[in-house]
């Protein structure tokens, strides 16, 4: 039944398909003035007060800018707030930078407008509201912030408008480290028009208005396109890259192959790919070093084994686990060495911090000594692990290391949400968890993590010690930052003497980007300063 005519239909059809395919697929390769970034997950709605995931922040920080920011060395630098002053660490005067305009948008009758003190106050107040993910940042510090969060006040009493470019923040009490609470670009300035009811369905999706070097063009779940802001205020750092395209490729291998094939330019190397990307010396393999360079970033994160101090009351048992954990082995096994072993919770170098409990505090002899003093009878201790941040692998290594000192660990794997739920309910013995710190000084970290008043949130390990509470309270009375940092090291040492948790390491992120680009700067909050990149 087959005829030449019928065969030809199919041949013609195939040829047409091939032609269309070649015609359109030829447009998929990237422009040299564009940067295609591979993301491992979709981002959230781009409303600053709702952002919480590490995938979203690097994108939002291109669009929105904070009051301050951290540079690559971890120093606070001015951003929307040009300068600030205080005489008593209680009343702070902020001067808003003049000549900063929001991105052009339909939400403004005149297309755009200048950022004023009113916008800063509005944004800060929104960050204190009940539906904000970040309300904890200022709840303890700013006068009336907690009352506003709880719905007991209509506005935050401590925020006062002085003039178009000046505002005042009144704290509950003197706090020399207040700026370190809000130094992240996460605490961003956005226009109140974004919250207008008529834009309720578009805000954070198609309407995303900030002041940053890049502005949103389009976004879908799998692709976000930003283009440079031609009216960017920072004359010294005008972006050279015209367009940034974020592509979500969830599979690590697929993202890496796309990088090798030149379909994406930039990616963070997940630990699952370390053996593919690096030699045993931690250098890039040749096939990748021809096109790409690496940048290693020390971020403010901590991975730890939390111990429920209400369940494991025996300090000797906790100390046995603390000293029986070989952090260096974890860093080498999980991260190919791209991490710093930590004895305490505060990352080394944060605001000049020098921990007294530093590096790998692994000491099997001490561990054996503490275990012999403990009342441990050989029962299995449950450790909750989850599906993020190598938690399960950490749990397995920890289990093996504890077995070597005769402590039995039983792993229970839950999804991340389930694990958080168990931790907050107090129904846990131990858990593997991580912290991404948005503070840039040790004081708020220690206060939030270990003060008795912070049980159960965010003192997740339910640690309580009256002496430590007094020491933490004393931090508010220290006027000089240097003295306060030294005191923090003492406090952390005192806390670790009780081993409320086993702190493991601070992970370093490794970023791959093209050799045609120079000057990439990344800070510890994962802010990629793409506007500083110079194209060769």
């Amino acid at each position: 039944m087959t005829t030449r005519f019928e065969k030809n239909i199919y041949i013609r059809l195939c040829l047409v398909c091939l032609f269309v395919f070649v015609l359109f697929s030829s447009k998929v390769f990237a422009d040299p003035n564009e940067l295609v970034v591979g993301l491992d997950n979709s981002i959230e709605r781009l409303i600053p007060i709702k952002i919480k995931t590490p995938q979203t922040m690097p994108v939002s920080m291109q669009i929105f800018q904070g009051l301050f920011d951290l540079n690559g060395e971890g120093k606070i630098v001015p951003s929307i707030i040009e300068k600030y002053e205080t005489n008593d660490n209680k009343t702070w005067i902020f001067h808003v930078r003049k000549g900063v305009f929001f991105h052009k948008s339909e939400i403004f009758p005149d297309g755009t407008r200048e950022v004023t003190a009113e916008d800063v106050i509005y944004s800060l107040q929104r960050f204190c509201s009940a539906d904000s993910f970040a309300s904890f940042l200022m709840a303890d510090s700013v006068e009336g912030a907690a009352e506003f969060t709880q719905g007991k006040a209509d506005s935050v009493k401590g925020f006062k408008y002085i003039d178009r470019h000046t505002l005042q923040i009144e704290l509950k009490r003197a706090e020399q480290f207040f700026i370190n609470r809000i130094s992240t670009a996460w605490v961003a300035v956005f226009p109140k028009e974004m919250d207008d009811k008529q834009y309720a369905d578009k805000s954070g999706f198609s309407i995303v208005v900030g002041t940053g070097p890049y502005k949103l063009v389009t976004q879908t779940e799998n692709e976000i396109i930003l283009e440079k802001n031609d009216d960017y205020w920072d004359e010294a750092n005008q972006p050279q890259i015209n367009k940034i395209i974020y592509k979500v490729i969830k599979n690590d291998q697929a993202r890496y192959i796309n990088l090798l094939r030149g379909k994406i330019d930039f990616m963070v190397v997940p630990s699952s790919l370390f053996s593919h990307v690096f030699t045993k010396d931690g250098e890039l393999k040749k096939k990748i070093s021809n096109q790409y360079q690496k940048k290693v970033v020390s971020t403010y994160n901590t991975h730890f084994i939390g111990i429920n101090n209400k369940k494991i009351l025996d300090a000797n048992l906790r100390l046995a686990m603390f000293y029986g954990t070989d952090r260096e082995e974890m860093v080498n096994t999980i991260l190919y060495g791209f991490g710093d072993a930590m004895g305490g919770t505060v990352p080394k170098g944060m605001n000049g911090y020098k921990p007294l409990v530093d590096g790998n505090v692994y000491d099997p002899e001490k561990a054996a000594k503490f275990l012999s003093k403990s009342a441990y009878k050989g029962e299995a201790l449950e450790l909750i692990v989850h599906d993020l941040a190598n938690s399960e692998l950490i749990g397995q290594i920890f289990q093996a290391q504890m077995a070597m000192i005769d402590i039995k660990i039983k792993l229970t794997k839950l999804d991340f949400g389930g694990a958080v739920q168990r931790i907050l309910s107090g129904d846990n013995t131990m858990f593997s968890m991580f912290m991404e710190y948005v503070y840039s000084s040790p004081e708020p970290i220690l206060i939030n993590s270990f003060a008795s008043s912070k049980i159960p949130v965010p003192n997740f390990v339910s640690y309580s010690n009256i002496k430590v509470d007094e020491m933490l309270e004393n931090l508010f009375h220290i006027e000089k930052s240097e003295a306060s940092i030294i005191e923090c090291a003492r406090i952390e040492k005192r806390i670790m003497d009780d081993a409320p948790a086993v702190f493991l390491y601070r992970q370093k992120y490794v970023v791959l980007y093209p050799k045609r680009m120079n000057g990439l700067e990344i800070n510890a909050n994962n802010h990629y300063f793409f506007e500083k990149i110079k194209l060769k």
């Binding site: 697929s25 709605r45 904890f136 799998n222 692709e223 592509k247 949400g417 739920q421």
Partner: protein, 309 residues
């Protein structure tokens, strides 16, 4: 008689739909997790979480929540997502378009293949077709999907689905649509071959040829028309394979269709989105089945009499 038949079938499918709504509500509300806590994160204090719980109506008794929920569903108002406040109805519609594009493309590939099979049944290529059919029906979709995804990454010029329905997006959908169509292709090809063997020497085909009709006329007008009835009948029974297959294919190829929203909602405990997705999926299945229920009597009137169709 046809009205009575239609009424009975509609009541039957409506009762299934009501069961889907109830089961989805109770199932997701029985999960021991607090969406308010998930939304606000571990740093929020309990007062803040309680306030949000109140705003979301999660503090109300379960029967009140169910009443409010069924009232909203009846009006096709699925509300807002817990996670990011987006309109669920619009979101599901957008996702459905993507899934529909994938399924539609898959159907096109299936019929192109059947056309090809029809062309080569008399040639030696039929042995190749037999081999392809055997492999397509034997290899599970998750395996063929992964193999196709790897090949796509290495050799295909389009590497991601942007969701803007650009030409590149449609090009990207070709490999997953091909994977999705593999099993139905093999089944339908088998039916077509079976019909061909029966009809090839049928007296009416022989007589049409003897009357001097061209091969193409005989093929499409006489053979095709008769062979299509069992093919369509089989397609109706295997159509759900396309829908269930998209759940696997969309995950493997990172396509933001309806299945990816289910996974995302489960991970984020976004109950309203999850319930709406399950309900809409159920509704689609019901409507497709209902559609076929009305087509059967047209193809075979014996169904109306309660006879075997």
């Amino acid at each position: 008689m046809i009205l009575s038949y239609a009424f009975k079938r509609t009541c039957y499918f409506f009762s299934i739909f009501a069961a889907i709504v109830l089961i989805s509500f109770f199932l997701f509300h029985m999960i021991p997790a607090d969406p308010a806590r998930i939304i606000l994160g571990p740093n929020a204090d309990e007062a803040q979480v309680s306030q949000l719980r109140k705003e979301l109506g999660l503090d109300l008794p379960l029967y009140t929540q169910l009443f409010n929920y069924t009232k909203d569903v009846a009006g096709f108002n699925f509300g807002k997502s817990y996670v990011d406040g987006r309109d669920i109805g619009k979101e599901i519609l957008y996702r459905l378009k993507i899934t529909a594009a994938l399924t539609g493309l898959s159907l096109i590939i299936t019929f192109l293949y059947l056309g090809f099979v029809l062309n080569v049944l008399n040639s030696r290529l039929r042995y190749v077709i037999n081999c392809i059919d055997f492999l397509s029906s034997s290899v599970p979709i998750f395996f063929s999907g992964i193999v196709a995804a790897i090949l796509t990454i290495y050799f295909y010029p389009v590497s991601s689905f942007s969701g803007t329905f650009s030409v590149n997006d449609f090009l990207y959908l070709i490999p997953p649509a091909f994977v999705l169509s593999l099993y139905p292709m093999a089944i339908l090809s088998g039916v077509l071959k079976q019909e061909f063997s029966v009809l090839h020497d049928a007296p009416f085909i022989v007589s049409e040829k003897a009357l001097g009709f061209s091969n193409i006329t005989v093929l499409f007008r006489y053979f095709g028309k008769n062979a299509m009835i069992p093919v369509l009948s089989t397609l109706s029974s295997i159509f759900p394979i396309y829908i269930t297959g998209t759940f696997i294919v969309e995950i493997i190829f990172s396509i933001p269709g309806i299945s990816s929203v289910i996974v995302k909602s489960i991970m984020g405990l976004d109950f309203p989105m999850l319930e709406a997705t399950v309900i809409v999926n159920g509704l689609i299945f019901i409507l497709i089945n209902l559609g076929f229920e009305f087509v059967y009597p047209i193809i075979d009137p014996r169904v109306l009499k309660g006879g075997q169709g």
